[in-house]
């Protein structure tokens, strides 16, 4: 693989500051998102038995939790990470003017949406299903955030083209393949979203149109909502393929596998959103089943990844002196304070074993009946987005902050513990929610007042006891984040010890085959778009004939 090692490049101050801001602005907001995650577990366990706590209503807080953690933090991080990868691996700094425009759009969008959420004008959760309506600033803010991320991507494309022209015959660096795949998936996801938000929701929330087709909006949302999860996951995959093997002390088992995986995600990420709508009316079972099939297709690249990463870790462990069929697992740098990224990546991958299996269960057509909209679902995705994705993102934030400021990471022995604390907390939270979920406990519900309140006629005893386990998990997750913030802040406040710059640990490939049929994006994008058309055209037709009339708007109160 090209340019392996720890080579650092230097950036202009303007780019450096921009990337730092793109990392730190959402990290500050994250404090609210995390806080409310913890408080939710208290409400659900009946430890807080009220509609609201410290001035924030349960559903207002849940909206903040979902929007900040899953939309704002992830999107801004992906842009910052992309800017850094392009500068490092293409050796070209993204033009700073457009990069600042992108950041400004994302920030203004975030502030508009934050205004609506914090003032209680948008307590309709991060899926914003109509006909519940929010203040127009919420939708306009979301649109600006997305447009800002598009600008960043368009800013990189010419740099990629010129790199290809100047380096004929060389393989595109794997990190670049990965981040471009991420943003191709993002484009495919955000086009239906843009239609929903700009054409349908904004005019309707402004009162320019009276009625909205609820099922169509919901279908477009999930046309966006599933590829969204790969937009979250793929930057983490870039780190796993490009960086993890080197940190572990080895090589990437197969460079070709990495390229194939990223291209497969372009093909299969989008045409699967109907698996969130198995219980919906207005969509034929044939199309529901077809999207089950395609969802299994998108499991394939993750199964390939599981093998490739395990093989890379085994190679590393054997380089470190590991032996035996399984004993080599003990020869990895779990607690190495200098190679702290390893713990964050490893803990995330461990959670993702469960995230992957539960994801396949969710996708499995009629099995979905058992768990749809129960607590099982947040149990699942706290082992995906709040597992590997979140751990990889906060780890990379810390790494980039340290690189871009020239300040080595502080509180190192605390820092190595963060991912394992988080792992423990998520395990309790997810096991608790999964068990109650199979028992029918609803998600998105302030359980403490009724369902977990012994004084209420709605009381369900087994949900109440499991909700305590969940709250214990939430407490440990909160603690892990307090430690993380302490590490980040004390790093930021420390003295600069070397020149600011930008470097990543980059692995060599063990099998370094030619890129072959995965060398170019174009054919994969064409196939992806075609499959989307085949999977969604009949769904949209069904939705149009099953909807008898549109809906006026309703506020949640």
């Amino acid at each position: 693989m090209e340019s392996a090692g720890e080579e650092r490049v230097s950036l202009t101050d303007a780019s450096r500051r921009l990337i730092l801001l793109e990392l730190l602005v959402p990290t500050v907001l994250l404090a609210f998102g995390i806080y409310h995650g913890f408080v939710q577990t208290l409400y659900r366990a009946g430890i807080i038995r009220a509609e609201s706590f410290l001035g924030i209503d349960y559903y207002q807080g849940l909206t903040l939790h979902g929007v900040i953690n899953a939309i704002v933090f992830t999107t801004m991080f992906a842009v910052a990470f992309g800017n850094a990868l392009v500068a490092r691996f293409l050796g070209r700094e993204p033009p700073v003017g457009a990069a600042w425009v992108s950041f400004a759009l994302m920030t203004v969008g975030t502030l508009l949406a934050a205004f609506a959420m914090f003032t209680g004008r948008a307590s309709i959760l991060y899926t914003f299903y109509p006909p519940l309506v929010a203040h127009p600033t919420f939708y306009i803010g979301a649109a600006l955030l997305v447009v800002g991320s598009w600008v960043a991507f368009f800013n990189w494309i010419p740099l990629y083209r010129s790199w290809r022209r100047e380096n004929p015959g060389r393989k595109t660096p794997l990190a670049i393949v990965g981040i471009f795949a991420t943003f191709v998936v993002w484009m495919m996801a955000t086009l239906p979203l843009a239609y929903e938000v700009i054409v349908m929701l904004i005019p309707w929330s402004l009162g320019m149109v009276r009625e909205i087709n609820v099922l169509l909006a919901r279908t477009l949302f999930w046309f966006f909502g599933h590829p969204l999860v790969y937009f979250w996951l793929l930057p983490a995959y870039v780190m796993y393929y490009v960086m993890l093997p080197r940190i572990a002390g080895g090589k990437l088992y197969s460079d070709f596998a990495g390229r194939l995986v990223f291209m497969l995600f372009i093909v299969f990420s989008a045409p699967v959103g109907v698996h969130h709508q198995f219980g919906d009316p207005g969509i034929s079972v044939s199309w529901k089943w077809l999207q089950t099939l395609l969802t299994y297709g998108v499991a394939l690249p993750s199964l390939i990844t599981a093998f490739t990463l395990a093989a890379s870790l085994e190679y590393a462990a054997r380089q470190n002196g590991g032996t035996g069929l399984l004993r080599w697992w003990t020869r990895l740098p779990y607690w190495d304070r200098e190679r702290w990224l390893f713990g964050y990546f490893f803990a995330g991958l461990f959670l993702f074993l469960f995230g992957g299996v539960t994801g396949l269960i969710n996708a499995s057509y009629s099995v979905n009946n058992l768990v749809h909209n129960t607590a099982w679902v947040p149990g699942h995705f706290h082992t995906t987005i709040a597992g590997p994705v979140f751990l990889a993102f906060i780890a990379m934030t810390l790494h980039l902050v340290s690189e871009l400021t020239g300040k080595p990471v502080r509180l190192k022995s605390w820092n190595v513990a963060v991912p394992y604390l988080w792992l423990l907390g998520v395990a309790l939270l997810s096991i608790g929610m999964s068990i109650s979920g199979i028992d029918g406990e609803p998600r998105r519900t302030n359980l403490g007042l009724g369902y977990t309140n012994p004084g209420s006629e709605l009381f369900v005893p087994q949900w109440a006891s499991m909700a305590r386990v969940v709250a214990a998990g939430g407490g440990i997750m909160l603690f892990a984040m307090v430690v993380y913030f302490a590490v980040l802040v004390s790093t930021l406040l420390s003295k600069r010890q070397r020149e600011p710059g930008l470097g990543f640990p980059v692995a060599e490939a063990y099998h370094d085959e030619p890129a072959g049929f995965v060398a170019n994006f174009r054919p994969w994008i064409v196939i992806g778009v075609l499959i989307c058309a085949i999977a969604y055209a009949p769904v949209l037709y069904d939705v149009s004939r099953a909807t008898f009339f549109g809906s006026p708007s309703y506020t949640p109160d």
């Binding site: 969509i283 093989a311 549109g550």
Partner: protein, 147 residues
């Protein structure tokens, strides 16, 4: 690709084929169905129970902020119950605990599912989609009577 990779790819694909066959088996042999595109009935604006016969009930469930209509239903064990579900306002969820009934109530459309309750007892319906500030109170019951 080396031999190990080809082997793993084959195993992974085989696993997915097994899962896919299981979904087909569930429909073909176990009769577990999902709601489909249903256009035969217009959305209604009140709940209703129609007893076609001792063994066949038709129930129109209306979900609204923040109740279900009918709020209480009584049917005999073993009777075929055709459930029709719509919403009078926003999205609602409709899960009957302890059964495989798990539906969305979408305004402007009608959802349909056929069920039989073999075990007598009290069944609870829970709204599991956020539908506004009193969402957590939205529930109903079905009593299945012994024959």
């Amino acid at each position: 690709m080396d031999r190990a990779e080809k082997l793993v790819l084959g195993m992974a694909s085989a696993l997915l084929v097994v899962f896919l066959s299981a979904t087909v088996f569930a429909v073909a042999r176990l009769d577990i169905t999902l709601p489909t595109c249903f256009t035969e009935m217009e959305p209604f604006d009140e709940g209703e129970v129609i007893e076609h016969s001792e063994d066949w009930y038709e129930v129109h469930y209306l979900a609204a902020m923040w109740f279900f209509e009918p709020e209480e239903l009584e049917v005999p064990a073993g009777a075929t119950v055709d459930l029709y579900l719509t919403s009078d306002d926003v999205l609602h969820g409709f899960q009957i605990l302890g059964t495989d009934v798990n539906l969305m109530a979408v305004p402007g459309t009608v959802n349909y599912k056929r069920v039989t309750f073999d075990e007598p007892g009290e069944y609870r319906i829970v709204c599991h989609e956020f539908c506004g500030i009193d969402h957590h109170w939205m529930a109903a019951t079905i009593t299945v009577a012994e024959r």
